[in-house]
């Protein structure tokens, strides 16, 4: 059986602004298998969120997908009960048309960054979750409400029967994020796109939410695209990882490989900048940081976009030619001149 859920090939999403063209996503390739968790890691502004929005086809103006293919392998039940996959080229459908709207929220659901701002302040959470259910499933209002309560219970809402009529301002940040997750899961999506879902939460709540997502994933068998800049969360949550820098994927590997055998200098630099607990006093040294900042998106450096900050750069090579994305070892790709096929 076809095990692929989502294929992204050479995706380019640019923002056409007065100041120039910002190449937010500039040739991204990856694949997500059914039930798998893919982590997308990178600094702020590297194009992680825009990649997610491109997949959902809700890139805000003046952004636009200019090139590339996004293909969703949807499972459809046939009349005899067996299942077949139906390929949908997401880059070719009308983003606000009924096909795309039917996929959004039901096949692919979003858990956004800020639980505080992601729910309408003037509608109850029950109203907002129930709306998603009624939109994609043919159920009555009462059934949708019952299902909403059931979903809230599933994500660990205390007293869901009463809280279903609560307004977001009456709930804590953690509960709001649970409500958003309940909304995302309400239609049993095959892909959950989590865009830094725990950044706004404290670590205790973060741990609870992560555990919850992990267990729900096993229960419901969905794939997760987990976007974060927190490498600790990547280690805990994901199976495969892609590392992004300035709109490009610079490395892709299994989570263990990324942590134990990083190839790209950017990945190694990111890993060195994580503080470790229990480091002995005499081994203690200054925490490494990546020198410099992410370049201006309107003035991407020539050659490898990371070379101004790279400590392994080769003068005359890295600042001249753009490295190609190659498979260095099976299942481990990198975009760096240091590696050959």
């Amino acid at each position: 059986m076809d095990n692929t859920l989502l294929e992204v090939k050479n995706l380019k999403t640019y923002f056409f602004l007065d100041e120039g063209t910002a190449r937010a996503v500039d040739g991204v390739d990856f694949e997500i298998k059914r039930g798998q968790t893919l982590g997308i890691v990178g600094e702020s502004g590297c194009g992680k969120s825009v990649t997610a929005r491109s997949v959902l086809r809700i890139v805000p103006k003046p952004g636009r997908i200019v090139e590339g293919e996004i293909t969703l392998h949807r499972l459809v039940a046939k009349q005899d009960g067996s299942k077949m996959t139906d390929l949908i080229r997401l880059t070719e459908v009308d983003p606000m048309g009924s096909l795309m709207r039917g996929l959004r929220g039901s096949e692919m659901a979003l858990v956004p960054q800020e639980p505080m701002a992601s729910l309408s302040p003037v509608h109850t959470i029950g109203d907002q979750i129930g709306e998603a259910i009624r939109l994609h499933q043919k159920v009555s209002k009462a059934e949708a409400r019952a299902k909403t309560i059931q979903m809230l219970e599933l994500v660990g809402f205390p007293r869901p029967k009463q809280r279903v009529d609560a307004y977001p301002y009456q709930l804590s940040g953690g509960l709001r994020q649970r409500a958003v997750i309940a909304m995302a899961l309400s239609c049993h999506p095959s892909l959950l796109i989590a865009d830094e879902p725990t950044t706004a939460l404290d670590v205790t709540t973060e741990a609870q939410i992560l555990k919850l997502m992990r267990s729900l994933q096993q229960e419901l068998g969905m794939a997760i695209m987990y976007i974060t800049h927190n490498l600790g969360v990547v280690a805990q949550m994901t199976e495969r990882v892609i590392v992004m820098y300035m709109g490009k994927v610079v490395e892709e590997a299994n989570v263990d490989t990324i942590f134990h055998n990083p190839l790209h200098p950017y990945t190694s630099a990111l890993l060195r900048s994580i503080p470790r607990l229990g480091m002995k006093a005499r081994e203690r040294q200054r925490l490494a940081s990546i020198r410099g900042t992410v370049p201006d998106p309107y003035a991407i450096p020539k050659g490898c976009s990371f070379h101004p900050r790279c400590d392994k750069k080769i003068r005359g090579v890295c600042d001249q030619q753009e490295p190609t994305y190659i498979e260095v070892e099976p299942g481990h790709k990198a975009r760096c001149v240091l590696y050959k096929q």
Binding site: L56, I58, P60, M96, R101, G102, L103, R104, G105, S106, A109, L110, P112, Q113, E114, A117, S118, L119, S120, P121, V122, H123, E131, A132, L135, H136, Y167, Y169, V180, M183
Partner: protein, 329 residues
């Protein structure tokens, strides 16, 4: 919620008391009183009135008494008997003169409020969702013109065109035969036939500003994460815009119902003088000029009361539409 409303109504009592004191004091501020201006008017027409007659009238109206005695007598009459005093100029009780005019003014104000909302909200939403498109620019230019031109000027322009081009008489709120007639169904129909032109004129002046408000508020809301999440849910663009950000962007409309009604009453005043409408405006203006104090004072107190009540209504409306404002003790 009920406790909140009751508390707000109780707070209105001292507010209204203060308003009545200030209104009365204001009317007393110009030198002289109704009789001085009345006598001056008679003398200018060559009529010489006897000093005894003036004194008798001064006595009758109690104008010789100290100001606070006059004030309390007036307030006592209003509170205990619903007697708003006597209009000196019209020789009639104030209450006989003002109610119909008050009613017509309020009807005109509410009518123009509804008209401008009906225009401003859809146009503003369109402008915001199609920011920097040609229709948005066109709408912006039109609404700047609308904001800039005062209602009385619109009244003059429309009157001119109606008269010269269409041969229509747009002055007044009633046809001649219904002017002094008692209220019948026919009179209501006649009023509806006349009210839409002044209603529209008052609406034009305010609609323009409201289009700008709707557009600006909606632009603030439209890029918020909750709108994006609604889109990610799979809602159609129309439905998600009207259900979520528009609902939040409407708050200023509800919170300003109070003074926006009061505002309209002021623009109606000027326009009524131009179009000779039977609203409070022209009569109030005349009462103030001739120092007809009880009539002028009653108008001031009633119109201020409308503002206070309007504010209460807008607070209740706001608490009803925005759950964050509801106070639960």
């Amino acid at each position: 919620m009920l406790a909140y409303i009751v508390r707000r109504i109780l707070i209105m009592i001292p507010t209204l008391f203060l308003i009545s004191v200030i209104s009365f004091a204001l009317i007393q501020l110009p030198p002289g009183d109704y009789l001085t201006s009345y006598v001056a008017q008679l003398r200018s027409m060559g009529d010489n009135i006897q000093q005894e007659a003036i004194d008798a009238m001064r006595d009758r109206y109690g104008l010789g008494q100290p100001v606070y005695v006059q004030y309390f007598k007036w307030i006592e009459g209003i509170v205990t008997r619903g007697d708003w005093g006597q209009s000196m100029e019209w020789q009639k009780p104030v209450s006989e003169l003002i109610w119909e005019r008050m009613g017509l003014t309020v009807v005109l104000a509410v009518f123009s409020l509804l008209v401008s909302w009906l225009i401003a909200i859809p146009v503003g939403v369109y402008s915001a969702t199609h920011q920097y498109s040609m229709p948005d620019y066109a709408m912006s230019i039109l609404s700047f013109v609308g904001v800039g031109v005062p209602a009385f000027l619109w009244a003059l322009i429309i009157m001119y065109f109606a008269q010269t081009q269409l041969g229509m008489n747009v002055g007044g709120l009633f046809s001649q035969q219904y002017l002094e007639a008692p209220w019948t169904w026919d009179r209501v129909v006649d009023l509806l036939k006349h009210i839409w032109i002044p209603g529209l004129i008052v609406a034009i002046e305010n609609t323009a500003g409201e289009i700008r408000t709707t557009r600006a508020n909606l632009l603030d809301e439209i890029n918020k994460p909750y709108v994006e999440l609604a889109r990610a849910k799979g809602l159609t663009e129309n439905r998600l815009i009207w259900k979520y950000p528009v609902r939040v962007a409407m708050n200023p409309f509800f919170s300003t119902v109070g003074w926006s009604l009061a505002n309209r009453i002021s623009s109606i005043t000027l326009m009524s003088v131009v179009l000779s409408l039977q609203t409070t405006g022209p009569m109030q203006l005349r009462a103030l000029l001739s120092q007809d104090m009880y009539l002028a004072g009653s108008f001031l107190v009633l119109l201020s009361t409308l503002t206070v009540v309007g504010t209460l209504i807008s607070d209740i409306l706001l608490a009803w539409v925005d759950p964050r404002i509801r106070m639960e003790a």
